[in-house]
Amino acid sequence: MANNGKITLEIFRYHPETDSEPRYQSYEVPYNEDWVVLDAINWIKDHIDGTVTHRWSCRMGVCGSCGMMVNGEPKLTCAAFLKDYHPRAVKVEPLVNFPVERDLVVAMDGFMDKLDAVKPYIIRDDVNDTSEGEYRQSPAELARYKQFSMCINCMLCYAACPVVGHEEEFLGPAALALGHRYNKDSRDEGQSERMEVMLSDEAMWGCTFVGECSVVCPKHVDPAGAIQQAKAMGAQEYFKGFVMPRGAGE
């Protein structure tokens, strides 16, 4: 393990019982080339200051819980290597566009509600009995939505989205991509039901296609692409409503 001295982490601190405003605290940690920012934060918590609060679990870019701002950039801290910042200091802050619960931990309630709003599950008119077997799907049908099903709910895209920052109610990239994922699933029949939510002003029409959600997404979900595709589908539904009014074109 290469060890070339130290690296400084500047950490956003906020404890609601004692702080009315956030503050920054600097910590010096051993510099290891193969350490990620999350390793350094864990080292601080274990060896210097046990009161530093942060979320993490898998350490391998799967659970989506370690998202933070690293030098102003939304990152999975378990995938952000210290060697990409050393010898400069690393500033770690909670994800922007979310209320801060404590130190590096943000409140996720709003995000969870938004995921829930798009009905992220397969909706069927009539549900087959399990004895009838599974709903078959071809590899080509899977390919239509697979990319959008790779989301790990890390919320980095919300931190990168200026519309989320302006409009608290905006459903946001991950939730809209998730809705689109189910609309694109050949086993699903819930598109018009889901579109009622996705077509509202706080949903996909709120998106101005800045596109940075797709830039920061660690799983290449391309939520920006999903939303533009959903807009095209939504416009089709809208025009179908003109041509065949009164519930036709479902």
């Binding site: 609601p16 102003g72 080509a140 390919a143 920052g165 800045v210 940075e212 692409g225 533009q228």
Partner: protein, 128 residues
């Protein structure tokens, strides 16, 4: 829930990332496009005003200040169009079975191709 900290609003958000800046520049190009539409409508109006009015308007458009404006508007329009076609593969993916057409190919199939075809038809229709 009480005790949460809400960050202040970031009014200068668009300065924070190069991607935000690119977005703002692209939005700004729309202003030039809209402006040029006005020029176009005024040109049509001058046609309605007779041959002399039209010639006068065309001569006015040839002054150095107007030439500079044409060049700026052209750059804005080209940038707007190129970024539009650049986004086409994201907004309109093309699948062949399990495979998705790679970006540059999708840009041609769904973007530049149809645009060139329509343009060629219009040119043919005008000059025939």
């Amino acid at each position: 829930m009480s005790g949460q900290y809400h960050r202040p609003h970031r009014w200068a958000w668009w300065t924070e990332r190069p991607g935000y800046m690119r977005f703002m520049v692209r939005e700004l190009t729309s202003v030039f496009m809209a402006g040029y539409l006005v020029v176009f409508v005024m040109t049509l109006a001058s046609v309605g005003g007779g041959e002399a009015a039209f010639a006068e308007w065309i001569a006015a458009l040839g002054t150095p200040a107007w030439m500079a404006a044409h060049v700026v508007a052209l750059i804005a329009a080209v940038w707007h169009a190129v970024t539009f076609f650049g986004a086409v593969p994201q907004a309109m993916p093309v699948f062949l079975g399990e495979r998705r057409l790679p970006g540059p190919v999708a840009q041609i199939v769904m973007g530049y191709g149809p645009w060139l075809t329509v343009s060629a038809v219009i040119v043919w229709w005008v000059v025939r």
